[in-house]
Symmetry: C2
Subunit: 233 residues, 2 copies
Amino acid sequence: MRAEVILSPGEFSLHDLTGKTGIVIDVFRFTTTILTALEAGIERFCPVAEIEDAWALKNSHPDFLLAGERQALNISGFDFGNSPLDHYGKEYAGGDLVCSTTNGTRAIHGARGAQEIVLASMRSAAAVAAYVKEQGRDLVFLPAGLAGKFSLEDTWCAGFILSLLELEELGDGAKVALLTYEQISREDLVHSAHGKRLQGLGLLEDLDFCLELNASSGVVIWDQNSGWGALKR
Amino acid sequence: MRAEVILSPGEFSLHDLTGKTGIVIDVFRFTTTILTALEAGIERFCPVAEIEDAWALKNSHPDFLLAGERQALNISGFDFGNSPLDHYGKEYAGGDLVCSTTNGTRAIHGARGAQEIVLASMRSAAAVAAYVKEQGRDLVFLPAGLAGKFSLEDTWCAGFILSLLELEELGDGAKVALLTYEQISREDLVHSAHGKRLQGLGLLEDLDFCLELNASSGVVIWDQNSGWGALKR
């Protein structure tokens, strides 16, 4: 098994994901929030690029729930924002969630072409590591970044998962992600560019929740053909 | 002084360089080669995107010299390739060099908008560090990368220069570049993606030359208004 980490969203289109497992990471907060919503009972989710796309789906399927953010703020008329705390501790009896977030949605679609697309977060890192190891494919990590730029916490999370896998063959980006995990403390991630931004919006509880390691055994898979994703286990 | 390192060429357009010093790094081999050519007596250089642009300049100024590469190979009819060994130990009596390389040219133009644009390499790292410290502006490093992707050796070089500057305020990308320098040995850079590619082309002597630290006291500046660059000192 070989692994590469694409350090910037600006490169997503330049890497060949054919036959590989794509691992999308948006710690603050999309992949954390989706995991939490699915574990609370939401049955499936559909990431869409534009707010208008979400409303179009809602118009044809009035039972769909809408979630998302723009610049970390809730979208008017949507059922949920992009906070995992919207869902944590809830018990839903199913439901279809249409989501529109900036970074996470871009990263998920950037993983198109991979054999399988897995969503990962700090909370599901060990579960994702075990799952992709079983699958045995080469890995490409797609840290979602912040507004198209490198993200320290997403790269750190990729490095953390790599540390659990102990692979022998790492691409240059994967080597750097592993170093990032080994040399930067998890506590320091609240001071990343994205962390500071969310702190400025008063979202410190979200940060703490998103930075908790291995709190979940859930593995989320997104099916690029149907456009919907769900818990695999 | 604050510093950021843009880890991928895919992000060049997303960063604001206004009022800052932009530091372009293409260790393998553009910025190393330009430094070496200028120190051998070439008076100035002009980076252009396309081979046709170089020929157009040559047609109107037959005394111009042409240099460059495509996929690390020499361009038919050009005076020089992109090897620093083309120039090392030579003594030119001036001359105007028009250059077209893939990664370096993109990075130089990616630095447009900066207050001043400096070219750096392993050989000139300490000289560049001393120069930009004197200037006192905030810094943005632009590692040129490889075909639009992250480059380990260019990022390492940025980290090396940062280690000499000992700045207090580093952006997330700069923190990671500094770690890369601290944790990855210089000898290992011949095994980077770019290093392996040049090794495969039999360019090991070029690699050794490009990886030599602080062998030069030259500082190269590119003037984005005229399109020409030269040795500043």
